[in-house]
Symmetry: C2
Subunit: 355 residues, 2 copies
């Protein structure tokens, strides 16, 4: 008998030592009603921002090599558009992107906007430690409430959550784009899409079957409850490529983020058609994302698919509650809806209907 006790908000962890707990848990919205202000999301912001007050989450993101390196590559690729220009970092956290834009992009000035006081304070100390205080200003506040001295040439932001849209931070970036970005300004990243593929879960299946005869006892009820628990919310986990049952398909293409209208991320709906590669047992659909950083002549893509180097985003599996036998060349159809949760707009309700 060994249990852990009530846990603080914890980041999804992708490194070898620190895999995540296997649930993504709902934010407990504070009961107090909160003025929506000019913001897009409103309720639950308090709990949301509080979670990002945990330094360990930022440490995890800082050592996500793929994440930081792609942003750095994008900054270098777009140096011509950043040098001696004004840059806005939306949701700056530790200030890493703002500092990289200043140091490697040669930005004239970066405004790093961060809503969490403890993080804004950390970012200020890091900016100072690195002697960048003439180039980087940390502004504490929500992007929707902050006043900037002028329009910006560049917006850089790392707004992506699990399965891309979890956290609903993209709306804040779109708001910033409409309010603060010059008409021909640069947006980093500049495109985004969600991909999907059917997956097996043979380890889970073996576990569940194991409860059917445990030293001569039938505990299959525990397996049924475990499966129900897995299905109750999207599971953030590292999906080994061998679990894929078919070619990944483009699920939702958000396209050019310059053109994506604010307010358009409330619901995504698509009918997906998968072709299976091999016989197996389809247990769920895995989702992940790519974001693109356009540049002068070439581009950078931050990929989070099962075959790419791991990131702290891992992949997200929506379990179907069955282990459906499929053959090579089968066609699987699924209607997928991702809809901002009414009770907590920082989260999405995902529903899948299969045929």
């Amino acid at each position: 008998m060994a249990k852990r006790s009530a846990s603080p908000p914890a980041a999804g962890k992708a490194s070898r030592e620190e895999a995540p707990p296997d649930h993504e848990s709902p934010v407990e919205c504070p009961a107090t009603s909160q003025e929506a202000g000019s913001g897009m999301v409103g309720p639950c912001d308090e709990a949301y921002f509080e979670a990002y007050g945990q330094l360990d989450i930022h440490a995890l993101m800082l050592r996500d090599h793929q994440r930081v390196s792609c942003y750095l590559a994008a900054i270098r690729l777009n140096k011509a558009s950043i040098q001696n220009r004004l840059v806005l970092d939306v949701g700056a956290g530790s200030g890493i992107l703002a500092m990289l834009a200043a140091k490697h992009g040669g930005a004239k000035h970066v405004y790093a906007v961060e809503a969490v006081p403890s993080m804004a304070s950390l970012a200020r100390r890091l900016v100072q430690r690195n002697g960048l205080e003439t180039q980087v200003t940390v502004l504490e506040g929500r992007i929707e409430d902050v006043e900037l001295p002028s329009q910006m040439d560049v917006i850089i932001s790392e707004w992506m959550g699990f399965y891309l849209v979890h956290e609903s931070m993209l709306e804040s970036v779109l708001h910033a784009r409409d309010r603060w970005l010059k008409p021909q300004g640069l947006l980093l990243p500049s495109s985004a899409r969600i991909l999907a593929a059917p997956v097996e879960a043979e380890e889970l299946r073996a576990e569940l079957e194991g409860y059917g005869d445990l030293h001569g006892l039938d505990l299959s009820f525990v397996g049924e409850e475990r499966l129900a628990s897995q299905m109750s919310e999207p599971q953030v986990e590292t999906v080994e490529p061998r679990r894929l049952l078919g070619e990944p398909v483009l699920a939702f293409d958000l396209g050019d983020l310059h053109k994506l209208p604010a307010g358009s991320t409330r619901e995504f709906k698509a009918k997906l058609t998968f072709t299976t590669w091999r016989p197996g047992r389809a247990a769920g659909i895995a989702f992940w994302f790519d974001v693109g950083f356009s540049g002068e002549g070439s581009s950078v893509t931050l990929k989070t698919d099962p075959g790419s180097p791991s990131t702290h985003w891992q992949q997200t599996v929506v379990y179907l509650g069955v282990f459906a036998a499929v053959d090579a060349g089968d066609i699987l159809e699924a209607e997928v809806t991702m809809r901002q949760s009414e009770s907590n707009p920082r989260q999405y309700d995902i529903s899948i209907e299969t045929q």
Copy 2:
């Protein structure tokens, strides 16, 4: 940017797919004052029992092969003492030990006492599903409050927490022993001890050093905070044997549990002397435990050391906040105190002074 939201109490997870979050978090005691009743622990019981209402924690314990197999082996080894006798299972959870004692031990009757209503209800359903209802009675309540029809021949209980004593459940078993076990009754497990060894943490050290120069930026402050966070509470993690810097030593021997006086688990204090095997950097002291099940002529030991097959208890590392260079044959001395936390008696404050 990807974070998880407020998490429910989660079990430490040892399987390949489900490593634990890297913090052991303090129980949030409910603010309501609670009658101590006849119990040993009292405050925080509400949060403690609530955490065990999560089925996933029990599913994790059920698929901890080492855990279940050792108890089953102990039941078989002691069949002569169990068959046609009265058995008490303290903190029965899913009822697995009670059912094994009935099915494989041939117990006359097993009283399975479980404080968590949802688990007592699950245990009842599993007992029924397995046709054991004439042999096993599930009693809902704290062991300190429950009335049994007579004295018991055997007490079986899985009370061990991280680093053995976390959760303070042993006191409930000692209370049950004094109140309900016949003078010559059998106690399973019958002995317990805590072991310790100095360990390296080279991956952590590399991570912390990495913040010193991240793409030309000095973020060492993040590393300092990360180390402080690691030190702030015991870390439950899987310690690879290669991280051991010296021979494990016996830290605290609780000895024969028949003889351990109730109330004696409030504080453990010892001066430990380690001899290092090889050069390295001592980052902390790892703790784990053995429990012994005495039997007719032979015995069973459930071991949770780094070299033994993994269990959901893993090991617990107390970080020292430094990476101290040591040479082969060095003597390391440490004064270790584990003391029940005043604010939450389900937890222990661990302090280590090194020389």
